[in-house]
């Protein structure tokens, strides 16, 4: 269902996506589909220990094995200063990045790469990796947030001193950073509160779960110039990061984007790319590396497990007057959990005068976390939205009504600083309240839960080119991999501007040598930021074509206007010139028709979502079945509603998986026990009902069509929506994720 406004010819319609045929016929080439003649195969030797000092690595036997062409270890990568660069989803420390790609003196999690081998066959490379002898000194491991934060905890990094404390620490610890947000007078707030709820919540590390494992083919020539084919969320970032880690020049590396089989934030960083590039340089041949599913789970970014304590107070009339949040997020082996967005978003839905939020970024012996769809926000919302639900119950106020009484609106100052511009939170709440789902009857052991979520979204550095071919067709070129239907959305915006059929436009994701720089596909930024560049470029082209028509007609520019894909004479003195005519004659009027626009736009519209979940709980087994689910979300403007709905549904499904069954399970020694889709229990299609969607459109004034990012917000409310529904069905508050059958049955047996 959609409430998309009409009045546009292409924006808001649902054309067949341009990349659809290639994808359904198998012609689309994903990361592992690339191959070159004479290519070698590379594998990674990974640590079997979660925390150990590397005493020695002996490559003698492995290097002598048949077919082995190159072996590298941490000693082959340059030392990199401890400095932080920027990315679309937060800072990146290149020294840590390098050490995550190949361990130096210590291994910090099971699966941490220790060496990489290239050989003529995959089997030969695997055998050689097994023949590498590594001597480890086992160190005490830190496997939980509680352990990691203790005063006498074993320390992962001797040089890690907590940032953000009132006085600088005199010794290293596992806490890399403390983030604090405060406003108002808490004492006065608690004084004013009639009802106070305080609870502790925990969540486990969960993986993005993209179907396509990481894959790369690298070919480095004798001249030091290299080409990478890889699947990522941003090939410019892959180039920047890879060359940084190798100490190479970015201009010497071309990265060609493969089609991407899912990323969800997890493909915003590098793992294999520098290994393959360096192995290729050493061996003088192309090197292909593809992770196994087990490697993906054990060594690529899950998102943080967390512990959160939330306290909120409200007056009898439902006004929230005070709140505190204490949050600790697992960063994995190196600093950099999404605690920043966690503290920023945890209370961002509500206008609360007195607030103290305290967040900790904590390292421990688990894989380094990576971005995952609205990084840091879903677990925070699980905690905060569960407390809001409890308050609503204590106050006897409908949970949507309680949210409406406290919802942030335009002009309200967000708890983390800026004032909200035009936002649609209230509209999502009203749509949810008025949706038939919200008042549908429920049976025994069934319950309904509601929760909301906020995500800021991002703009970012962007280049786009629009070119008109001689036959009047057009190419829209961007440098952002299409992970959510953005090719179609960009083509639709260009079609709307140019006034031509959307299928006469070919949207292209160009490589690093074919278009200017682009930040990654992340922060729900592409339809917003690249959309602005494409619209601007299209308008420049229209201006150019109108000028050329004026030249042909020998009239002033003002006497030409662009209507329905044609230059028209305002006076009617000349017959219109079509895009085809102008394009075919372009050589005589000034040369080819092409426009490139670069932008770094501000004003990415904030996204809000409110979701309704019905569950049924089997009291005998603890099984929670989602019966009905509705996502209401403000998209600003849905350019292609199918893909907006797809994003809303996909986010909800990932959040439901996070809520019910997904978790990293470690044995006593910190070794992951479920590194595969059999026992890492993501939902399968038959687990879920059709996810109903309601697109709310409160246009973003900073985008020509009103677009807000839609990719991430949908994953934020589900865990609390499910937990609140389980409470309604059973009377049990589930404060620890996942709400697996074992946990739910335990809670039910507590009577």
């Amino acid at each position: 269902m959609t409430t998309t406004r009409t009045g546009y010819k292409w924006v808001g319609t649902r054309p067949v996506r341009h990349d659809g045929l290639d994808k359904v016929t198998g012609r689309a080439r994903f990361g592992a589909d690339y191959a070159t003649a004479g290519m070698l195969h590379g594998v990674v030797l990974r640590s079997p220990h979660v925390h150990a000092r590397i005493l020695s690595i002996d490559l003698t036997e492995a290097a002598a094995m048949p077919g082995v062409k190159a072996i590298i270890t941490g000693a082959d990568l340059p030392d990199i200063p401890d400095e932080t660069g920027t990315g679309s989803e937060g800072g990146i420390n290149f020294r840590d990045l390098s050490r995550n790609i190949l361990a130096r003196d210590k291994v910090l999690y099971e699966g941490h790469p220790v060496a990489a081998v290239a050989a003529v066959t995959l089997r030969a490379a695997q055998r050689a990796a097994e023949a590498i002898e590594v001597d480890y000194e086992i160190l005490p491991a830190v496997l939980s947030l509680e352990e990691a934060m203790e005063d006498d905890a074993p320390v992962l990094h001797d040089d890690l001193f907590t940032l953000g404390l009132d006085s600088p620490p005199d010794r290293p610890s596992n806490i890399s950073r403390r983030r604090v947000i405060a406003r108002g007078d808490l004492d006065a707030g608690w004084e004013e509160a009639d009802v106070v709820v305080e609870r502790e919540y925990t969540t486990k590390a969960v993986h993005q779960g993209y179907i396509e494992p990481h894959a790369v083919v690298a070919e480095t020539g004798e001249d030091g110039r290299s080409t990478l084919w890889c699947s990522s969320q941003g090939h410019f970032a892959m180039r920047t990061y890879t060359t940084k880690v190798l100490g190479w020049e970015p201009g010497d590396m071309k990265v060609i984007p493969a089609e991407i089989g899912g990323g969800f934030g997890g493909k915003t960083t590098i793992y294999l790319e520098p290994l393959a590039a360096l192995l290729s340089r050493r061996a003088g041949r192309a090197v292909k590396m593809v992770m196994t599913r087990s490697e993906v789970f054990r060594a690529t970014g899950p998102t943080s497990g967390s512990v959160m304590r939330i306290k909120m107070g409200a007056r009898r009339d439902g006004k929230l007057v005070a709140a505190t949040a204490w949050m600790a997020y697992e960063a994995g082996a190196f600093p950099g959990s999404p605690i920043g967005p966690g503290v920023m978003t945890v209370l961002a839905c509500y206008d609360i005068p007195n607030v103290l939020i305290e967040g900790y970024d904590v390292v421990l012996n688990k894989p380094k976390v990576a971005a995952y769809r609205a990084p840091g926000a879903p677990m925070a919302a699980f905690a905060a939205e569960s407390v809001v639900d409890e308050l609503a119950e204590e106050l006897g106020i409908d949970p949507i009504e309680l949210r409406l009484r406290n919802a942030v609106t335009e002009g309200v100052r967000a708890v983390y600083g800026p004032k909200y511009r035009k936002i649609g939170f209230v509209e999502t709440l009203e749509e949810a309240r008025d949706h038939p789902h919200y008042s549908a009857p429920l049976g025994p052991w069934q319950g309904r839960g509601v929760a909301s979520g906020y995500w800021f979204n991002f703009g970012g550095e962007t280049t786009a080119t629009v070119s008109i071919n001689e036959d009047g067709t057009a190419v829209v070129m961007s440098g952002c991999p299409d992970i959510g239907g953005t090719r179609a959305a960009l083509a639709q915006m260009a079609a709307e501007e140019l006034g031509i059929d959307v299928h006469r436009i070919e949207p292209v994701v160009a490589d690093t040598h074919s278009i200017g720089y682009n930040d990654m596909t992340g922060g729900s930024r592409v339809a917003f930021a690249v959309g602005i560049a494409v619209v601007d470029a299209s308008r420049q082209l229209i201006e150019d074509m109108c000028s050329r028509a004026a030249l042909i007609w020998d009239v002033p520019r003002e006497e030409v206007e662009w209507v329905d894909g044609r230059a028209q004479s305002v006076t009617g003195a000349s017959a219109p010139l079509t895009l085809e005519e102008l394009a075919s004659g372009a050589g005589a009027t000034g040369g080819p028709l092409s426009a490139t626009v670069t932008v770094n736009p501000r004003g990415a519209g904030a996204g809000f979502s409110t979701q309704i979940c019905d569950v049924e709980v089997d009291p005998d087994t603890g099984l929670v079945t989602v019966l009905r689910y509705t996502v209401v979300q403000d998209a600003g403007r849905a350019i292609h509603p199918d893909y907006v709905e797809g994003q809303m549904q996909g986010g909800a499904v990932q959040g439901i998986g996070w809520a019910l069954n997904e978790e990293y399970i470690f044995d006593r020694n910190g070794v992951m026990e479920n590194p595969g889709f059999l026992d890492y229990r993501m939902p399968v299609a038959s687990d879920l009902p059709m996810i109903d969607t309601v697109i709310v459109e409160v246009p973003n004034p900073d985008h020509p069509y009103g677009v807000r990012g839609v990719g991430e917000t949908g994953i934020i409310p589900p865990m609390a929506a499910v937990a609140n529904a389980v409470y309604a069905a059973t009377g049990k508050r589930m404060q620890d994720l996942p709400m697996s059958p074992v946990r739910v049955l335990e809670a039910l047996s507590g009577d």
């Binding site: 005998d620 087994t621 229990r681 399968v684 687990d687 059958p741 074992v742 049955l745």
Partner: protein, 279 residues
């Protein structure tokens, strides 16, 4: 058989839906892999002389599509139909599911409940064994290196007899049983239980039969719902007494004990209903 005897590292396979993932997970590769699917006995389904003969290498998808077998042994077909995914169903077999010797195998509890025999051939000729005797522990069978199973011989159901299998997984498919339970029930014309067998999966090192079940259930009229009758508690106690479960990534021992009781009740109810429907 000669190949198997001469190659101590050899493995037999039918669908290879366990063998290949195990090799990928790091188990030593067999020196030789022998495909059983072309041996005629492993691929036929026959009903004669009071027995059904079901080939050990028939894909689950063929079993679930077989009308006669589905009518005779709905529980066995349910179990076979739960192995893996649709794609796996095209290859996975009863013989492989048994000889993989997992305590969580879905088709094994119904075979045991039905009193099925495995026909085993090897260098020493042909022999038969109760299915319950084939598996002796996790990943261990009583077959010697030259032996494999060609087919299963299952007593044809008498009038008033039927079976059921149910497993618990946290999802709806593509998973492995946290607990499984099969039941075979025979009822008389009044719907009174004359004979009962209850077999559990994933609660002990091997599939286990709840031997006390027949004593508890015989003579009872089994209701449509597992309500409050005291014999359900007795059955539950008997189930728990047979359980020797472990805590693992798929569930806790305590959880398995509780859910084994639930599934035993549910499959007994289903099997009894089906049994009444045959009258």
């Amino acid at each position: 058989m000669e190949l198997l005897s001469a190659n101590p590292g050899a493995a037999v396979f039918a669908g290879a839906t366990d063998l290949i993932p195990q090799i990928q997970a790091g188990r030593p590769e067999p020196t030789l892999a022998v495909d059983l699917k072309r041996i005629p006995e492993t691929g036929r389904i026959e009903n004669s002389g009071g027995f059904w003969r079901v080939g050990a290498a028939i894909p689950a998808a063929v079993l679930t599509a077989h009308a006669g077998l589905s009518a005779a042994f709905p529980g066995l077909v349910e179990g076979a139909g739960l192995i893996g995914s649709d794609q796996i169903q095209g290859r996975a077999t009863l013989g492989g599911n048994l000889c993989n010797a997992s305590p969580a195998a879905d088709s094994v509890p119904p075979l045991v409940a039905l009193g099925a025999e495995a026909i085993i051939v090897g260098r020493g000729g042909e022999r038969s064994a109760q299915v319950s005797e084939v598996v002796i522990g996790p990943s261990a069978t009583s077959l010697d290196q030259s032996e494999f199973i060609t087919e299963f011989r299952i007593p044809a159901p008498s009038r008033g007899s039927s079976d059921a299998y149910e497993r618990f997984i946290p999802r709806t498919e593509m998973d492995i049983a946290v607990v499984g339970a099969a039941a075979r029930i025979r009822v008389d014309g009044d719907g009174r239980c004359e004979e009962a067998a209850v077999v559990l999966a994933a609660v002990a090192p091997t599939v286990v039969e709840v031997s006390a079940a027949s004593g508890i259930l015989e003579g009872r009229v089994i209701p449509h719902y597992s309500g409050r009758d005291a014999f359900w508690d007795e059955l539950g106690e008997a189930v728990v007494a047979c359980c020797n479960p472990i805590d693992d990534k798929r569930g806790t021992a305590e959880y398995r004990r509780k859910v084994a009781q639930v599934l035993a009740r549910r499959t007994v109810v289903t099997a009894a209903r089906r049994a009444r429907e045959t009258l």
